[in-house]
């Protein structure tokens, strides 16, 4: 027998199939099919954790996913470990290692339990009141202390080695929950021909039928009926059964997210299996059969290990064959707890007394208790539980007052009543209505195509429940199907109460727990109300009631009732807190799924990437692109490499991968007309074979993008954009074409990845590439600066641009992408002996800055007009319309004193300014100083033999030659405003 508390003949597990596991380093034996909770209880282990705030000893409260106390660390190995796993959900496997949490040095002796002695300091709102001052102490003293003392488990430090799967699926009917209602609804829908998914969070289907053994359905026991239904459903092609699968989120248009635990119950899972699988279900109709969750009684010391929910005691007994004690007291306010008393007694467990808060109880129940020899104390309350590490007694008193009697017990099962699980219904935005008579919230108007059946719908009578479930299934299948409604006998959950029971106060020293996981007591709720929290949302945040990882599944109704009682208001007027996904905690792995590592974000590589890498390139990330940053030779620093690359371009030639540049093919009879509207420039007169630098604005008049546009034919333009701007420029163009100028006969095609672009720049550029060019005259006269030709390059169709972003004789060779690497390699092989040097984006930035060429997004920031950037020449004066034409006339955009882009020369040529640094006119003024601008670009220029910079400065164009100051933390740097072109101002080097 695995465990001394296992009862022969009870439960569904096989005694011979034993499983070894450890808890806090000690070895135990359980049975196959156990949960960690049932196996520990079988071994008599009740003390399994310390509470969050007071570090009070805690045991199991429930037997299912609502469990607030039994949070464990489950480890397969050093890496695959997970904290905060509910032991009531974790299935046992051979070799499972579990550890209790939030205790030090040991579970039996916890130093922080002194928190409990000083508990007035930890009352509701404690954090808000105590740790307010001094502010500086928060980070260094208070927060580390609180985090250490009030912690849950410890997160693993290494990356998760498991993998997770993701599936999208459509179905006619999704049924959530497989108790009696769920099984009947699923069967009825499937009989009617619908595609059905039936999901249940538990390891096996059947819900409460598995432990409510007093039920009979159509003459069969509940368990047998469930097994029969499951077998029938398994045999149907139109049904998918998903056990171990939690419906955790209900989203718009009947999209429900499910988390399936695939391997957490296996001793040595197949490595090819995902640990968990996320199902994103789109269902035509959703049937919620999520049942109800039992509430505990709120009385003094109700958190002692061994004080458990009645339904938990029943589940452990009937499903796992485990008695939670040898002398078990029962305390209830409704009928459902009687069954567990009867069953325990019948199984040979001593039940010294059943305490019922109600004075009037169904005679049949009382008769049966008498037959079994159980003393029933009606009109009595358990006002206190005795014991510390384990309950040892219950203190019973008549509700009308009188002598207290102490009854020795080693477990105390209790039940205040049942709360319908309306979580998913509420997430679907369905309304909830308060049933005054029964004190519960039940589903009202639906917001989506969803229906609730059974206990989650507030339906108690099991024959009504069966009829309701079958009807919902048939309706979901479009009225087809003739499933008959079974006849159910047995079972009653009549009665119930919520809020504090006798013995939960008003004495403020009493600890009567409402929320176990966050250590919230009845007193805390009353105090919150007294201190002015009158809305339940405020009470919740002030006390943290219902804010733990169980989201108040057992505590919310109690908290609400106590607040309402203290306020003297009916419950609906106090309100209900919002139910949010996830229903139970979902691992990050399931949500992140495949979107990690290389699949987190796409990496874009140019066709020449491998060649650049082979040449020793260091890459930088530019958006999703990997771009060659610089090409260090052995022993070179970045600085040395970049200086060498910059010099080479100006003395011989450099080769540069410009493939990431955005490219858009604009084609059609109205292509020029279209560009006239999208760019500030005039395009009509641009000849075929010529290029122009274009500026694109937004309607507000600010620079949006720029690039060189070549006219390939009368009706065809090759437009280039900035690397980062390519997608948004395309969208911007499509927007205007589709919605503002739909009559224009123009087609737009993104060709960014169709062309590989190789820039060859420098005095020797022509000499290097000419041998490869066929069918055209390469002379300066025939092919001048800012021209484009279609030609053959090494026999490959090519668009050859004569243009430069370095300010040299330059070419950009566009060939189909898949030829890019071969062409690059051939040019380099031929050019290297002539001094051709590969250069990266860093050198490219410096070379363009030497020429005063702007980079949109670096030298502009969304508030810079073409005039501000010194580009007035690019605005066509005679065009009637272009995007931004009106914006440019706005009062502020034409007002004096705008920031303008100018060059900056530091007084000390060796000093390089910091990009982003602020500029002031008088460094001696009082702080805060008036800032008149900032540095946008700044580099060491080896070609100029000094530092160069650009900046936006108020009225900068009028301040040529004036001195400005850049205050830094350790010094003030002096600089002079100058023209932004630092090198070859006349452009003589370009036109050769």
């Amino acid at each position: 027998m695995a465990g001394a508390n296992r009862i022969a003949g009870k439960g569904k597990l096989t005694p011979a199939k034993t499983v070894r596991f450890t808890f806090d380093g000690r070895s135990y034996t359980g049975l196959e099919g156990d949960t960690l909770a049932s196996a520990l209880l079988a071994n008599g282990v009740h003390l399994i954790g310390r509470s969050f705030k007071y570090h009070r000893p805690r045991g199991f409260l429930g037997a299912g996913s609502e469990e607030p106390n039994a949070l464990m660390d489950i480890a397969r190995d050093g890496v695959r470990k997970q904290p905060n796993v509910r032991a009531t959900v974790q299935e046992l496997y051979d070799g499972l290692k579990s550890t209790s949490q939030n205790r030090w040095p040991s579970l039996e002796f916890d130093v922080n339990a002194v928190n409990s002695l000083g508990s007035p300091f930890f009352a509701a709102g404690f954090y808000y009141k105590t740790f307010m001052w001094p502010k500086a102490a928060w980070k260094k003293v208070y927060e580390p202390f609180i985090r250490k003392a009030a912690g849950l488990g410890v997160a693993p430090t290494e990356a998760d080695t498991d993998h997770y799967a993701n599936r999208f699926i459509h179905c006619d009917v999704l049924v959530v929950g497989s108790g009696l209602a769920g099984l009947l609804a699923a069967k009825a829908a499937a009989d009617g021909g619908a595609d059905v998914i039936l999901a249940d969070e538990q390891a096996s289907l059947g819900g409460a039928l598995k432990h409510e053994t007093d039920l009979s359905v159509d003459g069969k026991s509940g368990v047998d009926f469930a097994d029969g239904m499951i077998a029938a459903l398994e045999g149907m092609d139109n049904v998918r059964l998903l056990p171990r699968t939690t419906a955790f989120g209900y989203y718009a248009q009947n999209m429900v997210a499910l988390a399936e635990r695939v391997t957490d119950h296996l001793a040595s899972p197949d490595q090819s299996l995902p640990r968990e699988r996320l199902w994103q279900v789109r269902a035509t109709k959703v049937i919620l059969a999520t049942g109800a969750i039992e509430r505990h009684m709120v009385f003094a010391e109700n958190d002692r290990p061994g004080v458990m929910m009645a339904s938990a005691g029943r589940t452990f007994l009937n499903q796992y064959g485990v008695a939670v004690g040898r002398r078990v007291g029962v305390y209830t306010a409704n009928d459902s707890a009687y069954a567990v008393a009867f069953e325990l007694k019948a199984a040979g467990v001593d039940v010294p007394a059943l305490v019922d808060l109600r004075k009037i109880v169904d005679e049949k129940l009382l008769l049966k208790a008498r037959e079994l020899g159980i003393e029933v104390l009606t009109g009595h309350a358990v006002i206190k539980a005795g014991g510390r590490l384990r309950v040892n007694s219950m203190h019973v008193q008549p509700v009308d007052g009188g002598a207290t009697r102490q009854i020795a017990v080693d477990a105390l099962l209790n039940s205040a009543g049942w709360t319908p699980s309306v979580h998913l219904w509420s997430q679907s935005r369905g309304k909830l209505v308060f049933d005054d008579a029964r004190g519960i919230f039940v589903p009202g108007e639906a917001a989506q195509d969803v229906v609730s059946v059974g206990a989650c719908n507030g339906t108690e009578d099991l024959n009504v429940l069966a009829a309701e479930a079958v009807a919902a299934g048939i309706a979901a299948a479009g009225g087809k199907g003739k499933t008959k409604v079974p006849i159910v006998t047995g079972g009653s959950a009549a009665g119930g109460m919520s809020g504090s029971a006798p013995g939960a106060g008003p004495d403020d020293v009493v600890k009567a727990f409402v929320d176990f996981q966050n250590d919230v007591t009845a007193k805390d709720i009353r105090m919150a109300v007294r201190e002015g929290m009158h809305s339940i949302e405020h009470v919740k945040r002030f006390t943290t009631n219902g804010m733990a990882s169980d989201q108040g599944k057992t505590s919310n109704m109690h908290g609400l009732s106590i607040a309402a009682e203290t306020l003297g208001k009916p419950i609906p007027q106090v309100g209900l807190t919002t139910f949010r996904s996830p229903y139970t905690p979902v691992t990050f792995g399931t949500i992140v799924n495949h979107a990690k590592g290389p699949l987190f974000d796409p990496t874009r590589r140019t066709p020449m990437h491998d060649s650049s890498a082979a040449m020793g390139a260091v890459f930088e990330d530019v958006g999703q692109w990997k771009r060659a940053w610089y090409f260090p030779k052995a022993g070179e620093t970045m600085h040395q490499a970049v200086d060498r690359e910059c010099k080479a371009v100006r003395t011989t030639a450099g080769i540069f991968d410009a493939s990431t540049l955005g490219k858009i093919e604009v084609v059609g009879p109205d292509a020029a007309k279209f560009l006239n509207v999208l760019y500030t420039n005039a395009w009509d007169k641009l000849g075929v074979g010529r290029c122009r630098y274009g500026i694109m604005l937004r309607e507000d008049g600010f620079i949006y993008d720029d690039g060189v546009v070549g006219r390939i034919a009368e009706d065809r333009f090759h437009v280039t954009t900035t690397t980062g701007g390519a997608p948004r420029v395309m969208s911007h163009m499509e927007d205007y074409l589709q919605t503002e100028f739909p009559d224009f006969n123009v087609w737009l095609t993104s060709t960014t990845e169709q062309w590989a672009v190789i820039a060859v720049q420098g005095p020797k550029a022509r000499e290097i590439i000419s041998p490869f060019v066929e069918g055209m005259d390469m002379s300066n006269e025939a092919f001048p600066h800012m021209s484009v030709r279609e030609c053959a390059f090494m026999g490959i169709p090519c668009r050859l641009f004569r243009m430069t972003f370095a300010g040299e004789l330059g070419f950009e060779i566009n060939v189909p992408a898949h030829y890019g690497q071969a062409v690059w390699d051939a040019i380099y092989a031929h050019g290297a002996p002539l001094g051709l040097t590969p250069y990266g984006t860093e050198a490219m930035h410096i070379l363009r800055a030497e020429k005063g060429y702007i980079i949109v997004g670096q030298d502009t920031d969304g508030t810079v007009t073409p005039q501000d950037a010194g580009l007035s020449w690019a605005i066509a004066k005679s065009k009637p319309d272009f995007v931004g034409i009106r914006g440019l006339k706005r009062v502020d955009l034409v007002a004096p004193g705008r920031k303008q882009l100018v060059g900056l020369k530091t007084k000390d040529p060796k000093t390089v300014l910091e990009e982003g640094a602020q500029i002031v006119l008088d460094p001696k003024q009082a702080i805060p100083m008036k800032m008149v601008g900032h540095v946008t670009s700044s580099y060491w220029s080896e070609n100029c033999g000094r530092s160069i910079a650009m900046g936006l400065v108020e009225s900068g164009f009028e301040k040529m030659g004036q001195t400005i100051f850049v205050p830094m933390p350790d010094r003030v740097i002096e600089a002079e405003i100058c023209d932004a072109v630092f090198y070859d101002k006349e452009g003589g080097r370009i036109n050769v």
Binding site: E699, E734, E740, K889
Partner: protein
């Protein structure tokens, strides 16, 4: 995840394929260059932020690439109608304008 009906594809597709593009029916004046400051301000900056029915632009960016207009209820997130760019605002009957009510079914309406 919302399902959105693309009026060009004539198909309901998941919202991941679409991108919201701001308020619909903002008219760019034919003679925008000479628009008054007040009118241009309205065109450029002034936007509705209704609690209720909202006319907005969407783009089926990972599908056909077309821009279209939609009427969406900002409380329930429900799409009342989608229609092609350039088409007039659809007339909404009373029920459609209050989708929070219109699409509801009664409890037990199984």
């Amino acid at each position: 995840m919302l399902l959105i009906h693309c009026p060009y594809c004539d198909e309901e597709r998941p919202e991941l394929e679409f991108r919201n593009m701001g308020q619909a029916h903002v008219v760019r004046a034919p003679d925008i260059a000479n628009q008054s400051d007040e009118d241009f301000e309205k065109f450029l900056y002034i936007r509705e932020n209704p609690k209720g029915v909202n006319y907005e632009r969407w783009r089926h960016i990972h599908g056909c690439g077309r821009f279209f207009n939609a009427v969406r209820h900002t409380v329930s997130d429900k799409f009342i109608a989608t229609y092609k760019a350039g088409e007039p605002k659809p007339s909404l009957d009373g029920a459609a304008a209050k989708p929070a009510k219109a699409a509801k079914t009664k409890k037990g309406d199984a």
